[in-house]
């Protein structure tokens, strides 16, 4: 089936040399329709983004479902899709930990415990909460580190997607980067957070639609789950298909991790830090229309997050058995011309999807990239405008001025991300790099926020010095191991630990340092009067009571259901 008007575009998209697959006119049509729809949404919503509340917070009108899907979609960037599929190929089912224990408890904790404080304080951002609780010092430190991390992440996401599109489809690297970036800049710049959220919901549906066929057909190809497990076990060892039973020692599993690192480093610190304090995801929930929706949104997100391994981890596992060649690390792939781990998802798409479905699968990958980038850019724009520009540089501007600044920031954020994408071209391992970044800023920030919310005695000086000490500890530990690899035995508790395990322990130590310094300095300084802590700290004023008609409408009931399901899944794949 050919659609002639798209043929010329098709030849521009793909160069036949060195590409693994060739998109035909139907595929190009599928991709083009997607771009048309997302840009249309941006223009359609332009009229709904006139005030700062509308542009940055989507008017706080989102339902629990829309906020929840957007919450999980903003996280589902191209790194999340392709990087973790590659990790599943490299490390086996252990990669699922980053979707289950590394996400679900933290998302439920955000919904049930933390959301009331974020929501009733009516802050516009996480640094905004720090401003109310700790003053300008902690806000500035958090806002600057977040802005830096956000554009860096956005650039890394962009580069990883463009690289895979180049290797698998033969697309020009610059073409992929610029076309996707301009589209994101256009729809976020025009429609603000509402446009980003609407598109994220659409992108979430597309990601599922485009990627779901791969595990379905892959399981048929591999002879079912039992057969797949048996084949992986026979070829590589049973440690590739067990999540917990091999984590008793660092050397017993391919990831070089220990269960203490998973539970305390990943679940308690990195995951809680990311899902409860990273404004990229929290911003989506703050846009909810009422407290109940704000509490339900992360719970709905958790349910979908728990299902994501089916379209990300499972294809990586199936590839171990069905692909006729072996994938290698990024550095080796560049040197030898082989395919890298990060390309496993597109390679599986090419294996099972013909014309039309291949276009849909590629659209899913592009949608993943765009949702991640839009999340980063809209959060960057908000934090810059509210917490850096509006807080320190121009405090008395009009609302219209801040909206204009937000629009400009969106375009500038995209441009910086594009620059970052070109800068990170030489990063050896994309995913490891990102995990390292998380532990620098997110882990100590979680210590600061959680102490501020749960402990009345925490002081302004305690919050600032704790955050600074924790961040410096994370960077210091990273540099220590970087210049003296033997220090790994101290930082990660074992010389057998690998990079991901090191990240978990580094996060744990930096969080502990943050908590200890915050508590110590708080006891040595004068606390805020209780009247200034209303709506910010647990136990100061009673939280609003929810008026649910039935017991099954209560967020706690749904959180409990998800928690039980989470435990059952971990036991099944133990």
């Amino acid at each position: 089936m050919q659609l002639q008007p798209f043929v010329a575009l098709s030849t521009y998209f793909a160069t036949p040399v060195h590409s693994l697959a060739h998109l035909n006119a139907v595929d190009i049509a599928v991709i083009a329709i997607y771009f048309g729809v997302v840009i249309f949404i941006g223009f359609y919503l332009k009229g709904s983004a006139n005030t700062s509340e509308e542009f940055f917070m989507a008017g706080r009108e989102m339902t629990a479902w829309i906020a929840g899907l957007s919450f999980v979609s903003a996280n589902l960037g191209s790194l999340e899709l392709m990087g973790w599929a590659g990790s599943a190929y490299q490390y086996g089912i252990l990669a699922t930990h980053w979707y289950w224990i590394g996400a679900i408890p933290a998302m439920l904790f955000l919904g049930i415990i933390m959301m009331p404080f974020y929501y009733i304080s009516k802050v516009n951002s996480v640094p905004g909460y720090l401003h109310l609780r700790y003053g300008d010092g902690a806000r500035a430190l958090s806002a600057v580190s977040f802005a830096f991390m956000t554009v860096l992440m956005s650039g890394i996401n962009m580069y990883s997607m463009a690289l895979v599109m180049k290797v698998v489809l033969g697309w020009n690297l610059n073409f992929s980067i610029w076309v996707s970036s301009i589209t994101v800049a256009l729809y976020v710049g025009l429609g603000g957070l509402r446009s980003a959220i609407y598109n994220e919901v659409l992108q979430f549906l597309l990601i599922w639609l485009g990627a779901l066929l791969v595990p379905i057909l892959g399981l048929i190809d591999a002879g079912g789950w039992t057969n797949l497990k048996a084949q992986i076990g026979a070829r590589l060892g049973s440690e590739y298909v067990h999540m917990w039973s091999t984590t008793g020692h660092f050397s017993q599993n391919p990831m070089g991790i220990h269960w203490t690192g998973l539970v305390f480093g990943l679940a308690l610190v990195i995951s809680c830090g990311y899902w409860t304090t990273d404004f990229l995801v929290v911003q989506r929930v703050l846009a909810a229309k009422n407290l109940r929706s704000a509490k339900m949104a992360p719970i709905i997100g958790a349910a979908f997050k728990m299902a994501v391994p089916f379209i990300v981890i499972l294809p990586g596992l199936i590839a171990l058995v069905v692909l006729p060649y072996h994938l290698v690390g990024e550095t080796q792939a560049v040197a030898t011309g082989q395919h890298s781990y990060n390309e496993v998802l597109p390679l599986m798409l090419v294996r099972y999807c013909g014309p039309g479905l291949l276009g849909l699968g590629v659209t899913a990958l592009i949608a993943g990239f765009m949702s991640g980038m839009a999340g980063n850019v809209s959060a960057f724009s908000t934090v810059w405008t509210y917490d850096i520009y509006g807080a320190f540089l121009n405090k008395k501007a009009t609302d219209q001025h801040y909206v204009a600044m937000g629009r400009w920031c969106t375009f500038i954020g995209v441009l910086i991300s594009v620059g970052t994408a070109y800068l990170v071209q030489h990063a050896a391992s994309i995913m490891d790099y990102v995990q390292g970044l998380f532990s620098f800023f997110i882990a100590p920030l979680f210590g600061t926020v959680i102490l501020g919310m749960l402990w009345k005695r925490t002081t302004k000086a305690g919050g600032f010095w704790g955050l600074l000490a924790g961040t410096c500890t994370a960077i210091g530990l990273f540099l220590w191991v970087h210049f003296d690899p033997s220090a790994l035995r101290y930082v990660a508790l074992s010389p057998d630990a690998k990079t991901l395990a090191e990240d978990m322990y580094r996060a744990l130590w930096s969080w502990l340092v943050c908590v200890i310094v915050t508590v110590t300095v708080s006891y040595a300084t004068k606390p805020k009067p209780l009247s200034e802590l209303e709506g910010l700290v647990y136990g100061v004023v009673p939280l609003p009571v929810e008026q649910d008609d039935h017991w099954y409408q209560k967020p706690i009931v749904w959180a409990g259901t998800i928690a039980v399901l989470f435990v059952i899944l971990n036991i099944i794949f133990w």
Binding site: V26, V30, L202, V322, R351, Y352, G354, G356, L357, L358
Partner: protein, 71 residues
């Protein structure tokens, strides 16, 4: 007065268009077999996957068809 378009309507329309395109492509392949077919091509995934998408898309398009509301 302003037309309010739900996000679910956008999703429905997109699914419907994709479903029709992919299903038609699958049907076309029945009479014009691919030179380099993908693995498991005999399952004709584009036909049933496209049809399912089309039905889901049509359902959402009809259910969330824009209605006029007063502001």
């Amino acid at each position: 007065m302003r037309e309010e378009i739900s996000i679910w309507f956008f999703g429905g329309v997109l699914f419907l268009i994709y479903g029709v395109i992919i299903c038609l492509e699958g049907l076309w392949e029945l009479s014009h077999p691919l030179v380099n077919p993908p693995v498991l091509n005999h399952l004709h995934a584009p036909i049933w996957w496209g049809a399912m998408m089309g039905v889901a898309g049509l359902t959402y398009t009809v259910k969330f068809w824009p209605k006029k509301s007063r502001h």
